[in-house]
Amino acid sequence: MTNSDINRLKDKAFQVFGVFCTLIGLVVLGIFLFDIILEGAKRIDWDFLTSLPSRRASRAGILTAWVGTIWILVLTTIIAFPLGVSAGVYLEEYSRKNKLSNFLEINISNLAGVPSIIYGLLGIEIFVRQMRLGNSLLAGALTLSLLILPIIIVTTREAIKAVPRSVRDGSYALGASKWQTIWNQVLPASFGGILTGIILALSRAVGEAAPLIVIGALAYVPFTPASPLDEFTVLPIQIFNWTSRPQEAFQTNAAAAIIILLIITFLLNGIAVYLRNRQQKKIKW
């Protein structure tokens, strides 16, 4: 064999290896989903969705967990949405290139890299202890809001950046002020992108357990929360709790709850991908 034959052979070999590596990820994903569905699907029924948690695995349900999850999602949106979008608008439209804006930028990318459990430590000290919110939904939502704030800010900026200069110039030419231009032109034009960012951020928040465990969300809450100051649990915490019990039946419960959690996560991500695709097709400035 000549050198070039050997090289060609190596090239082919790497190609096969590349396909193999790419497939490993997908195969593991497949096994994983298959295993969860096999184990959990038989446990999902109306009772499972509408029962309170219980010491007996066969009677335990996830009512409090998914109601808590929805509460957390709504509260987190209410807190993080205006905050993140305003910060994004400020950084993209108002801030001048100076030391402060530079620092803000570095700081936000740093915040995005802070482990979620550290946000839990922040939450328990500031919201639970100093602000005396207790182990409440509100404390949890505030903690998660800070956690997802960097994602919302970054995607808001990207969305606003995509609005062309001419739209703004047109608005200014008609005599609109800066804020009128942003409110009436820039924000509506970039709304799809901003929404994508919010939904992605929420899908991140819905799967978080660590910071909520640190601020003291409980696995066993025998009632569904009725106000933001009530104690709560969420699906990931319920799953963690069931996973850490030795009995086989609780593992089945965990698998069933995982199916529900994955449905919510994939649904949110699917909506975000759909919005992004639609946005990319629609925009022809």
Binding site: L83, I106, I118
Partner: protein, 291 residues
């Protein structure tokens, strides 16, 4: 009119500045509690003692076992994710058809969206029993399966960011390599990977940082036994798991045991902060090489 514009601008400015307050808040919370802790336990003991037993009667406060556990699971995760992620990035860039790339990439991204508590369940109930059939000595809780599953989770992070870096290399370099008669493999490893190396390094550092801070996978599958070992077959404890363990227990707030989670937290924060800034610095320094 003008006044209300100013007020709005002020409010927007305030929301941007809140992000700085969050950072100050994190550092203040960690520092103030940790300083209390270090008034009782010396920093030297914290950094050099080889036992971590704050919850036992015989208290020892050496962070090393938790650091060792964290580095062990992180090391395993990177050992899984780096070769796989980099090969996927090269394959998708140099070999795969555009159509295939379009299908495979979003499917791989799904790996990153799965909640980590779900990965933990997977590590404990599928991967560990499977590995036990191959390695009979493997304990029920161990660093190996937690690390491997964490590696699967961060594959898309490395493959995606490395792929961006490789596709940012100018076409002319690739064409020059082909012009010299190189195969795709020689082009990839001789030209593209070295040219994109800063971007690849950034992706790996970010993946390490992510693995160091990852909590639920290790809390579920790696165990809660702090020990100074590099043996992946036995239960260990990471910094993050320890924080979860104390948060779930009934350690009275304000006690020395309670303050240990802030000392552990600041250790974790310093690790990830250093890694994130390192990646930021590399990105800034080498970014404009080809512009």
């Amino acid at each position: 009119m003008r006044a209300s514009e100013k007020i709005i601008e002020g409010l927007l400015w305030l929301s941007a500045v809140i992000t700085i307050l969050i950072t100050i808040g994190i550092i203040w919370v960690l520092l103030s509690e940790a300083i209390d802790f270090f008034q009782v336990v010396s920093l030297v003991e914290f950094l050099t003692a080889k036992q971590w037993t704050p919850l036992f009667a015989q208290k020892e406060f050496g962070i090393l076992p938790l650091v060792a556990g964290t580095l062990l699971t992180t090391g395993i995760a990177i050992a899984v994710a780096l070769p796989l992620g980099l090969t996927i990035a090269i394959y998708l860039n140099e070999y795969a058809h555009a159509r295939m790339k379009q299908v495979v990439k979003p499917m791989l991204e799904v790996l990153a969206t799965i909640p980590t508590v779900v990965y933990g369940f997977f590590a404990l109930t599928v991967v560990t029993p499977f590995l036990q059939t191959l390695i009979p000595k493997l304990a029920g809780f161990n660093a190996l399966s937690a690390g491997m599953v964490m590696g699967i989770m961060i594959i898309p992070m490395i493959s995606s960011l490395s792929e961006d870096a490789i596709s940012a290399v100018p076409r002319s370099l690739r064409e020059a390599a082909y012009g010299m008669g190189s195969t795709r493999l020689q082009t990839a490893f001789g030209v593209m990977v070295p040219a994109a190396s800063s971007g690849i390094v950034v992706s790996v550092i970010l993946a390490i940082s992510r693995a160091v801070g990852e909590t639920m996978i290790v809390a579920i599958a790696a165990g809660q036994q702090p020990r100074l070992t590099l043996n992946p077959l036995v239960p260990i404890e990471t910094i993050t798991t320890y924080i979860v363990q104390v948060s779930l227990g009934d350690v009275p707030q304000g006690s020395l045991e309670y303050k240990t989670i802030f000392a552990a937290g600041i250790t974790l924060f310093i690790f990830t902060f250093a890694l994130n800034n390192l990646s930021f610095w590399i990105k800034k320094k080498y970014q404009e090489k080809y512009d």
